[in-house]
């Protein structure tokens, strides 16, 4: 198995699926000649040509509307949003069109499309370019929302997303493209809608995903040195949400921390913790603690920005709190 970066894993998934299925094509801002703002589609334009790697105007409604329409008539477009923050400019397509068309027309329409979007803070881009608004999108039935935390999952989930007959919002993290991990070569599929244990442990459950996974794995190493074995459950797909591995772990450890990069209010943690209490209240030996972003628009200044984002010591402290 090769040890490659998240960027390479995503790029590999795209290329394999484009080679496998001629209905798959990419469209978005600077995906072609430029090679992708985050270089994920570097080399694609030369390999596949302008027909399959389409540079678009800076017009998110046109991009997503066109992708939906093409998907409705049988193509498998992958629309790239340069950042998830631009999703707000085309919110109608993500939450009001793509997820509704199958249901509202009695099952006649299918929208097999993927929206790839880069999210996350920590790059000093200021408040409008640094958000982690995943829970907003996960609110809507009909949409699949995926956000991988390892290169292997990124590859396997993206390949599954491209083959899915549902609209999938695939959220990547801007600071994780250089994260390395073992990734199976060739055909490798990870099912959508399945959470998984990324690190086994017996003392406490950490539920997280995406950037939170990277931080939690490091926090777990620190905690192990202090004799605490944390089990990390990675949600991977936010909708449909698979709570089974979370509950199974919690019933074993009876203590849990939920880590997310987005804001705590109405966030992923709010949903996960509610469901844990609904399904497994009797198993709790301590109140569940959430680690999340401070409730501020992210500032540009590096020190302030880092102070607002969840950090490894915050996770360690939260675990100690629930272990009391």
């Amino acid at each position: 198995m090769a040890r490659i970066t998240m960027r390479e894993a995503i790029s590999q998934a795209l290329m394999e699926e484009m080679d496998r299925d001629p209905a798959v094509f990419i469209l978005g801002e600077e995906v072609g000649v430029w090679g992708g703002t985050y270089a994920v589609t570097k080399g694609f334009y030369d390999k596949y040509g302008a027909e399959r790697v389409k540079d678009t105007p800076i017009a998110e409604n046109a991009i997503l509307g066109a992708a939906i329409g093409a998907a409705m008539v049988g193509q498998r477009p992958i629309a790239e949003l340069m950042t998830i923050n631009f999703a707000f400019s085309a919110m109608d397509y993500i939450v009001n069109q793509a997820p509704k068309l199958r249901y509202m027309f009695g099952g006649q329409f299918s929208v097999p499309m993927v929206i790839r979007a880069v999210g996350g803070g920590g790059r000093q881009l200021g408040a409008t370019h640094s958000q982690t608004p995943d829970s907003v999108f996960a609110h809507f039935p009909g949409l699949v929302v995926v956000s991988p935390g390892t290169p292997a999952d990124a590859k396997g989930l993206l390949k599954s997303a491209i083959r899915s007959n549902d609209p999938v919002l695939f959220i990547e993290h801007a600071t994780m493209y250089q994260v390395r991990g073992e990734v199976p070569e060739g055909e490798y599929l990870v099912p959508l809608g399945k959470s998984t244990v990324q690190r086994p442990g017996k003392d406490v459950t950490i539920v997280t995903y995406c950037k939170g996974l990277e931080l939690s794995l490091k926090a777990a190493d620190d905690l192990a040195k202090q004799g605490i074995e944390a089990e990390i459950v990675d949600l991977r797909t936010l909708r449909p949400l698979d709570m089974e591995p979370v509950l199974e772990s919690f019933r074993k450890t009876n203590r849990a921390v939920v880590v997310e990069e987005g804001w705590k209010s109405y966030g992923v943690g709010a949903e996960v913790v509610s469901r844990m209490y609904e399904e497994a209240f009797d198993y709790a030996d301590a109140p569940i603690v959430r680690v999340a972003q401070k409730e501020v628009p992210l500032p540009y200044n590096r020190t302030l920005e880092q102070a607002a984002l969840p950090q490894i010591p915050d996770i360690v402290a939260a675990v100690k709190e629930v272990m009391k």
Partner: protein, 318 residues
């Protein structure tokens, strides 16, 4: 125009009128819920347009979609059943008045977010371009939709990428209750196509023969040149914007003036004048439309409600 074609168009216009009149009654009787936007007065627009398409050409429209659905060949039964929210409706009773579609008839939906379906229309055409065929997508929308960003993004993309879309603005003079000149920087909607270097024309939408001729010309241009085209069709809705419209924004004299130009009456006189049909033939078509409508009401009333299993069905692919 061939006699057979002319009679079919006449029949469809009358059928739309009858189905909607009955729909309005059923709405008043509380049997139809939600919003319902009637097409009465505008029948010549979709009838002339859709008569000019080949079956492989796609149609997508806004929420004033009953007429378009009928013109595309969706049965009055299915239209009426959808209005009544029955499982036998076009969308199994889950879409309602504003969301009728039939992919087999190449009718890609009534869409209820103003302007929202224009970029999707670009996408339908993109799918065809990607597949390498020369199908045309006919995208209909109201004058009100030309002031929103979607319109401009979609027109720009269609011209930039050479997508085969016939953009059809049904200018019925009002976006809800706001007159065109109170909402649009230009009075002639077709002028907006100029900014995108797009071929465009205007046509009288109360005369179905003129709409048909203009649509044929536009379709041919789009197909042959792989370029979009904007056709502005001037028309007028005789009824309110939707069923609950107090109509404070227009004078009764104005409504009356347009009603004197009833598209069905105009076409009927034309058919007689040109000896394409006799009074008896047209009366027979009127009667057929009446009976088709009556049957559709009976069908819809007798149809079952969707079962509870439909509640959770078709949210995701199985």
């Amino acid at each position: 125009m061939e006699k057979e074609k002319a009679l079919q168009m006449y029949y469809e216009m009358v059928l739309i009128r009858r189905v909607e009149e009955r729909g309005a009654e059923l709405y008043q009787a509380g049997k139809i819920g939600g919003f319902m936007h009637l097409y009465i007065g505008q029948e010549a627009v979709s009838t002339g347009l859709i008569a000019a398409r080949e079956p492989r050409d796609r149609v997508i429209t806004a929420y004033r979609d009953h007429g378009v659905a009928l013109n595309c060949g969706i049965s009055a039964n299915e239209v009426m059943a959808e209005l009544l929210g029955k499982v036998t409706g076009t969308s199994k009773g889950k879409g309602g008045s504003m969301h009728m579609a039939d992919t087999e008839k190449n009718m890609w939906g009534g869409h209820a977010i103003v302007g929202g379906h224009l970029p999707i229309a670009s996408g339908l055409a993109l799918g065809d371009q990607y597949a390498g065929n020369d199908n045309v997508t006919i995208c209909m929308f109201g004058d009100g939709a030309t002031n929103i960003g979607y319109f401009h993004e979609a027109l720009n993309l269609s011209k930039t990428w050479g997508l085969r879309v016939l953009w059809v603005c049904e200018n019925n003079q009002y976006g809800m209750g706001t007159a065109v000149e109170r909402a649009s920087a230009v009075d002639e909607i077709r002028q907006k196509a100029e900014g995108y270097g797009m071929k465009n024309a205007q046509v009288d939408g109360m005369d179905v023969a003129k709409v048909y001729a203009a649509a044929q010309e536009a379709m041919q241009f789009v197909r042959e040149n792989a370029q979009p085209y904007l056709l502005e069709v001037n028309t007028y809705r005789f009824r309110g914007h939707s069923m609950g419209d107090p109509e404070r924004y227009r004078k009764q004299e104005e409504v009356k003036k347009w009603q004197e130009n009833d598209p069905i009456g105009i076409f009927r006189a034309q058919l007689l004048r040109e000896s394409l049909a006799t009074e008896a033939e047209l009366d027979a078509l009127d009667a057929r439309a009446e009976s088709e409508t009556q049957k559709s009401v009976e069908f819809a009333e007798a149809s079952p409600e969707p079962g509870m299993d439909e509640l959770f069905k078709d949210i995701y692919a199985a």
